[in-house]
Amino acid sequence: MPDLHQFAQQLINGIALGGVYALIALGYTMVYGIIELINFAHGDVYTLGSYFSLSILALIPLSKYTQGWELWVIAIAVILLAALLCGIVGVLIERLAYRRLRNAPRLAPLITAIGVSLILENIMQIWKGTSEVSFPQFLPDHVHVLGGVGFHDRAVLVVAVSLIAMTALNMLVFRTKLGTAMRATAQDRDAAQLMGININATIAWTFFIGAALAGVAGFISGIYYGTTFFLNGYQAGLKAFTAAVLGGIGNITGAMLGGFLIGIVEAMTSQYISDQWTSVVVFSILILILVFRPSGLLGEQVPEKA
């Protein structure tokens, strides 16, 4: 059964890759859902997450005697800190670049978003240079073999973290007061404001959460690949955007599903067609979805306009 094993192995590769896309896609989809802005700076916030994690890790005196649970505590602390820092960056971006343009024609904030993306890329370029930066692989990494298919702890980490993040986000959006405020703002900004919802704060929180998830993605991709590069967010951001559109933009479950699907499509293209065609296939899906099913697989959830 070598073919089946191969398929399963590629499925695992695809799911791990998709986990990263999914986490980034969540941020795209949340921001689009609430203010209909495609925040193209989001992919760079993801790379920024890797860079923040690197700087935080550099502050922690890791020795080879640090082991077991201590490492996991460190990992969780780094994830949370990187997420916090990215969240703050997200809020700052919204405050400085997007808020004034909230009622401007749609093209203005979009171009601003691309400008912010270039600014972030340049800052990272000045900060860590234009080479690949290696990321310390301090977490234990065992290979598990299950029915002839091998997978690493790192891959499990990626998938586990993205599933936890999605569950937490779903609970936040559907079970908490903030989530209700977010949904109300998404549905009708003016009416929500009349009901006493602080629109600015709600939108700022949306940006915070989206950017924090990108920060988490930045950390786990650093662990997964062992390297990072200041332009990684550009490609990853585009793929994650495709994932968000595929799942139905504005739809949280859709973004997750889209992320995993895009990852799997990439792995399968590499296996059964050729690696150089992966981007062609992924972006062809984007075009096909936009043409034939613009609301995505699970349907969009965006502001209702009278």
């Binding site: 093209l107 370029q125 240079g129 234009t130 332009l231 590499s270 936009l290």
Partner: protein
């Protein structure tokens, strides 16, 4: 309506991507302007930032050392030689359009009599037509793609004056480097089953094709040949597919900056971390060791020139290099030195022939085309009618306990 908005966003993004590429081209350093007087300038166009810096900087150091030497030994009496070092990397990767801009800037500076560079063959492809039309000598320390000098493809690059050679190189070419590597893989390392990858660039694809062809000729099997994309980060799927064919070596044609080190690193994740990795001169650098980390061991790479450490005439150079820069000598440091020296010597003899006046670029080119023998620190050689060196030595290196070590070298001159 909504889908219209998204479609419009996508089209705007496409436009921005295009402008970004052209804007990025402007970020390189411009060479300094003419100072005139008693200065002879030698341009150096190499990738000296980002992932390519670990190749470009040691090579540029060789150029600088040649200039220091030339001034010390007063090779051009009455003139000071100055190296004008510029970068052809954009966003950390060698960039053909940046290289072309650099050549134009050099050509507009009348004190520049010749240019060292470039490092990467796709950059050379953009620069040779300019060198040819502007009539400025271009001497590469490291370009190995054969089509830059030989055959009809090379003829097409010399757009303005197809029969005038303005581009020369002091390293040998991939029609020798590729097969030499394959011979070593089969005959010495005893490898039999190869999976071949390349980065789809002029150099990477060229050397991969040459290596694969010879590997089969030597009795090995090529299980598959795939190409990676610039900027790609995830090679797990690609390598999983390769692993399923149970190769005993992965060949990578390309540079570290296009993914050479990352491929080696992720081979371990796909369960083939213990098999050999073979590359060519694009990966024999320190950045490869950084990117691949612990996985680097068991990698091999060819370099299309001699190992200077093995040549008595190069010992003084190596000592001076260490004293001056205090960092490891690169694969092509000595070639950078030699490339600069050929231009400096050409300027000196052109000046002598012109009775001590400042020579023209055409006079410098005539000297380089004369076919005279250069006694250099990498051996004696001359430029043939295509501009190629007669020196055809390939050296082979391997990674042992985290560092590149010299394994062997062979002279392919007939």
């Amino acid at each position: 309506m909504r889908c219209y908005i998204i479609a419009r966003c996508v089209s705007v993004l496409a436009v921005i991507t295009l402008t970004e590429v052209s804007l990025a081209g402007c970020s390189g350093n411009a060479p300094s302007s003419t100072t005139g007087g008693s200065v002879v300038k030698i341009g150096s166009d190499l990738p000296v930032s980002g992932g390519d810096a670990s190749d470009g900087v040691p090579t540029a150091n060789g150029v600088k050392l040649a200039v220091i030497d030339a001034n010390k030994r007063k090779l051009i009496p009455g003139y000071t030689v100055v190296a004008s070092v510029v970068d052809d990397a954009v966003n950390g990767v060698h960039n053909p359009s940046q290289g072309a801009k650099n050549i134009q800037a050099f050509a507009s500076d009348s004190a520049v009599l010749g240019v060292i560079g470039p490092f990467n063959s796709n950059v050379a492809k953009a620069e040779i037509p300019l060198s040819n039309s502007l009539g400025i000598a271009l001497v590469s320390p490291a370009n190995t793609n054969p089509d830059l000098t030989k055959g009809s493809l090379a003829q097409q690059l010399r757009t303005t004056n197809p029969n005038e050679i303005t581009y020369f190189r002091v390293c040998t070419t991939d029609d020798i480097q590729g097969p030499a590597g394959a011979d070593y893989a089969v005959q010495v390392v005893k490898l039999k089953r190869a999976y071949v990858l390349d980065d789809n660039e002029t150099y990477g694809k060229g050397v991969a094709d040459q290596w694969a062809a010879q590997f089969q000729k030597d009795g090995g099997t090529v299980l598959g040949h795939d190409h990676i994309t610039k900027g790609q980060q995830d090679f797990h799927a690609l390598l999983t597919r390769a692993a399923s064919l149970s190769p005993d070596v992965v060949f990578y044609g390309g540079t570290t900056s296009t993914g050479g080190g990352l491929v080696r690193k992720q081979m371990a994740d796909a369960g083939i971390g213990n098999i050999a990795y073979f590359g060519a001169d694009g990966v024999r650098n320190e950045q490869f060791l950084t990117d691949a980390g612990n996985a680097a061991n068991g990698s091999y790479a060819t370099v299309a020139t001699v190992n200077a450490a093995k040549i008595p005439a190069a010992q003084a150079f190596l000592k001076e290099y260490q004293a001056q820069f205090n960092q490891p000598v690169g694969s092509y440091s000595a070639n950078g030195y030699v490339a600069a020296m050929t231009i400096i010597e050409a300027v000196a003899s052109a000046m002598k022939d012109a009775g001590g006046t400042f020579p023209t670029r055409a006079q410098v080119l005539d000297q380089l085309r004369s076919g005279k023998v250069h006694h250099s620190i990498i051996g004696n050689f001359s430029f043939d009618k295509n501009g190629d060196t007669t020196n055809k030595i390939i050296s082979i290196y391997g990674v042992r306990s985290g560092g590149w070590v010299f394994l062997s070298q062979k002279n392919y001159a007939r």
